[in-house]
Symmetry: C2
Subunit: 263 residues, 2 copies
């Protein structure tokens, strides 16, 4: 990972009817978002599309042209509705063929079991693609161009991410600090927060209100790539809050990677 | 809700840096997907975009042109990063102005509390928009054209959905049945499943493998709008599985709306 200051971007493409029907609650997006954060890659957009060839091709082409990386999940199993490899090959206008390494893996793993056409489907990789290891067992994913194609089952997807990370040329890691305000609502916090946000256009300042039986308030999250600027912005924010009569702001102790901040 | 056989489609647009940074696990998409299913509306696509004006405008214009409905979540609070109303007004090329009904609600609710510019931000509705009730408390959402704009906080969003449902002209409700196969993997299930899927192009057949300490197998989900066709497809599937040596398939007892099927 290079510690540059450039912004490196990614998109996630989630492929699967089961997410859009509500049958399955997606958790892959959140896992990938956190993973990319630790590698200095900004997740800039995500899309969920159905198991429909043209939808996958169109979304993939739109996203891979626009962002540095695209990570897809889902649709690489053996059944007829697993059409991600076909769609990726079509998007890149390359043929799809059985990868000898995957066939060899399957033969070694499933000794004596017939390699049905369905099982062989999982060995298909677009020409020019490289394998993404599946440490959990079962066939690997693959990468072609700036696209990484992973399984949809969360434990398999997370395993595959481990073989994606080292291939990413990351930008500066985004750091995150939180200032917690209790007993005041966003209606009065908004103005001092906006004042600081305007002074720091390179940073992202967000407000996340909370309401609990014990009280209410907001977590004000400051994200940026420059630890010194974040520190300065925190001081300015506390001053601006105090000037607006909002006292008792609690600053979280030290800068950390955005991903670690799951408050 | 009309019981037609036409397909009625929707997209969800999730607006918020906190989802893309991994700070927050989205649950709104799943809740909306299930809700739309009960109203006979197919969720066809979803996108997650950052709190960036052009991103929201572009995504909204792409989605509202393509689908019957678009439901957005997030970005309607009082802080500077809450820019959804501005973006929706820009997408529709209409002015954004304070809605007198919301100002009146705020004055009634917050007696004696100053209506700061931040609070007044939440009263802004694009010209021609109608309010979407917020039964949980706080300012309402709104609807304009085929777009419904809702809060991002899940309990507020779910409350607002109740005032969205009656406005949807639904298609035929999608029914779902599940055939459970135990002790066989997708590698052998795929061919009989595909055979039935080919014979029923109007239906969607999906395979969802499971691996538990007690055993493995797959849930084969048949979705469609015609209960009779689903019933016929189930019989054909059981026959095709049996012919392939896959016995003991368990058919779930009766047709039900897809949303109820969360197995």
């Amino acid at each position: 990972m290079n510690a540059t200051t450039e912004r490196v971007t990614a998109a996630v493409l989630i492929i699967g009817d089961e997410i859009l029907s509500g049958r399955t609650q997606d958790t892959n997006l959140n896992a990938i978002a956190k993973f990319l954060g630790t590698h200095g890659v900004d997740l800039a957009e995500a899309r969920v599309v159905a198991d429909v060839h043209e939808e996958i091709v169109d979304a993939l082409n739109a996203l891979r042209a626009r962002y540095d990386y695209v990570l897809t999940t889902g649709g690489i199993g053996p059944t007829h509705d697993d059409i991600t490899a076909d769609a990726v090959a079509a998007a890149f206008s390359v043929p799809l063929s059985e990868h000898p390494e995957i066939i060899a893996m399957m033969q070694a793993r499933w000794q004596g079991v017939e390699l049905t056409p369905a099982r062989r489907r999982m060995a298909r990789v677009p020409e020019g693609g490289e394998l993404v290891k599946n440490p959990v067992g079962g066939p690997p994913g693959f990468t072609i161009g700036n696209v990484f194609v992973m399984a949809g089952v969360p434990q398999v997807m997370r395993g595959m991410l481990e073989d994606v990370g080292w291939r990413l040329k990351g930008g500066a890691v985004v750091l995150s600090r939180t200032v917690r305000v209790e007993g005041f609502g966003e209606g009065v916090i908004a103005e001092p927060l906006e004042q600081v946000a305007r002074a720091h256009p390179a940073m992202a300042l967000g407000s996340y209100p909370f309401f609990t039986p014990e009280g209410y308030g907001a977590n004000l999250v400051l994200r940026g790539r420059d630890a010194g600027e974040i520190e300065a912005a925190i001081q300015e924010l506390v001053e601006a809050l105090t000037a607006a009569g909002i006292t008792g702001a609690i600053i979280d102790p030290e800068p950390k990677a955005a991903v670690a901040n799951s408050a």
